[in-house]
Subunit: 142 residues, 3 copies
């Protein structure tokens, strides 16, 4: 079966969609805050609530490309527990939801969710590296 | 035939290259405006024309990783009309060109192109979800 | 052998991990500078050293999604020299390291590393386009 048709890959595809939906929601919030506080483009400051929504969106932007890349490297190369990359990816999405809700209430409360997402990303990196090493050894053993 | 060698995937590869070329052009424009208006790094403000070029680039940055991810999820999982993801991706690129030209002339004229790109991205998301569900059902039916 | 298990792809996976490690290091530096100079979120300015670390991170963010996409398009489609995309990708990572160290010392010294990374990205784009054309011709020749 091709890699992308495996159950692990399909679960990772679902998690990718969830991450993108959350990220899209964050970008819509920025637009809403822009309208609510009458902040005209190209300005990106002017009201604390807008600035928080803007930073939530951009901080997630800083991570999402790397997150998607790590999720798929882990999915493609690590086969010991095929569902593990998707599970860790789901925890990343949950961490980012907590980060968003915490930050909107109070910037000092963004730590927990941020930490969960950061840790998930680190775990995905470790899983990807293990998978790459396993694949390398399997190919050279043939 | 491996998925990446199908005509649908090759068309999506071409669209990815076009999106990257447009994005690279936007980033070069920011550098030119930096020079033109003598705005020394790390400053990111100082003249409306520079700020517009900067926001066009960054707003496209906000979308491009998610766009590429959705384009390829749709390409890999949706096989009913294999050329459809590439076509919708091409409309995204056209929307982003209109967004860029509109915004440079007048920030209030960025809406049409932005809307076309946003809508294309939403359509890609729907196509990707349909494809993921179809693949899931096909795998579990075997 | 599936494409992702080829030696070229495994090398590109390693380079992707290296790029992500460098990028993660840059983001940690921003957090450290935020603490060092007591710049409270959501502010993103306030001290030259923080602003340099912030711009290094964001300038790399501007490139990393496109870099990863080009690296993998080149890896998937170009088979004449399977290790070439990974090699050019490695040069991109080295360019970004030089960019970071140069910029932290003096913003005017960021040019060399930036140029190396920019050129590597252009070479990856050319390799990807050659690979896409080759694959297109191979598919239509069958």
């Amino acid at each position: 079966m091709p890699i992308f048709a495996t159950e692990g890959a399909i679960l990772s595809a679902v998690v990718t969609i969830l991450a993108i939906l959350l990220y899209t929601f964050m970008s819509i919030r920025v637009g809403q805050m822009r309208t609510k506080h009458s902040i005209t483009a190209p300005a990106t400051s002017g009201h604390p609530e807008f600035e928080r929504a803007f930073r939530i969106h951009y901080n997630t932007l800083e991570s999402i490309a790397v997150f998607i890349a790590l999720l798929w490297l882990a999915t493609i190369y690590f086969h010991t527990l095929p569902w593990l990359p998707a599970l860790v990816g789901l925890i990343w999405v949950i961490g980012r939801v907590l980060y968003m809700t915490g930050y909107m209430n109070d910037p000092s409360k963004r730590g927990t969710g941020f930490g969960i997402a950061m840790l998930s990303q680190l775990v995905l990196l470790v899983i990807a590296v293990i998978g790459i090493v396993q694949t390398w050894m399997a190919v050279n053993a043939v």
